[in-house]
């Protein structure tokens, strides 16, 4: 043992040395560093989880956003459709009323025309009658009494009316 250099004091001293080193390293190396490693690992895990959560939130927010856009698109479409409908109706109503007005106006105008025509016709008839009487009296040259004359004129006029009605 002596030749190998093994002796009790040396062995004990080295045992104490190593024990001392173990205690010191435990205090200044393993504990703080392992704590820090654990802390950092925890923090990284937390950060990753946070990132994941934020990603999910973002995704859901985007989904929501898209849904909202879709919703508002639908709504706006509905509004536009409604507006179109209303516009159509107003348009139709306007057309209708315009048409009615025009018809009224037309009818009125036609009525007036008719009236004027009738008036003109009456005037014409009277004039034609006069003319005819005059002509007839001249042609016939013999006097018919007035009554007979008018009867004749009436007859003629009726005939002419028949013609004009045809």
């Amino acid at each position: 043992m002596d030749a190998l250099g093994i002796n009790g004091t040396g062995l004990l001293a080295q045992l104490i040395n190593f024990a001392l080193l173990l205690i010191i390293l435990r205090a200044v190396a393993y504990k703080p560093i392992m704590n820090m490693l654990d802390q950092r690992a925890a923090k990284i895990r937390e950060s990753v989880e946070n990132a994941e959560r934020i990603k999910q939130q973002l995704a859901s927010a985007q989904q929501e956003y898209a849904a909202q856009i879709e919703q508002s698109r639908k709504e706006s479409q509905a509004i536009i459709a409604q507006a179109n409908q209303i516009a159509d109706r107003i348009h139709q109503e306007a057309q209708e009323s315009a048409r009615r007005e025009a018809e009224d106006f037309l009818a009125k105008a036609q009525g007036q025309i008719e009236r004027e025509k009738r008036q003109a016709m009456a005037e014409l008839r009277r004039e034609v009658g006069d003319l005819a009487i005059l002509a007839a009296s001249k042609i016939v040259a013999r006097s018919l009494d007035d009554e007979a004359q008018y009867r004749l004129i009436e007859e003629t006029l009726r005939d002419s009316e028949k013609f004009s009605n045809n």
């Binding site: 190593f18 010191i24 390293l25 393993y30 820090m36 490693l37």
Partner: protein, 285 residues
Amino acid sequence: MKKVGTIVLMLALVIGGAIFFPVGKPHVQLPAEKIGELAGIPITNTMTAAWATIIVLSLLFFFATRKMQMVPGRLQCLAEAAIEVLLGLSDSIAGKEKSRMFFPLVGSFFLYIMVSNWMGLLPGYTTIGLIETIEGEHGEVEQLLLPLFRSANTDLNTTLALAIVSVVATQFYGIRALGTFSYIGRFFTLKGPMDFFVGILETVSEIAKIISFSFRLFGNVFAGEVLLGVMVFLVPWVASVPFMGLELFVGAIQAFVFMLLTLVFLTVATTGHGGEHETEHGKAH
């Protein structure tokens, strides 16, 4: 041209060193040299080297972890990286749970052995020291250098101390994990002649572990020291540089082997024969 110049320079250094600066034959001595006495306790140069290692490691980690920050500085980063690598290795062998329990011990083995070995390669180790004059029987005077530092693991006391710590820790953790009876059953059992014989083998292997641990480490480091001495004696300059690299490698490997073997033994000792069931039983104690 550059290459040729380098080679010529190297050769000049080798030859010049050999001719003008011859180095004496290495003095090979197994026991550590006593360089003083402190309160009646002899102080050897391997003890001073061990203290130097302890001081270097302590200061390094003290300054590295003095102000721990979430975003580490350079020194903290270095210390953390070292511990993390060792812890990862430990985790991969012993499993996460046990690794945390064993790590202070095996990590200290690694750091202590590797730093000791590497510091042993520093200039000044085994070269700076006291001159001791020995007078021979016939009056001739021999002068001997008593180095102040000599790589801690070139002393069997150091390696034996480490080996004892390793094996004792194995028994301690084994008993703690499995319970006294269950653990002792590994070494002494009356279940049958075969088991009894296996128990004896187990016991012998525990003692053999101490010897193999201590002599492996001692042998490697001591041989490295002698190798370097002889190389320097043969070719003083340049030629021993590759061997320095080799010794750096050996120093790290020995630390690694010591740590790994201890870890494996610890893991085996804390795992029951029956696997999970017995481990659970052991925990209940």
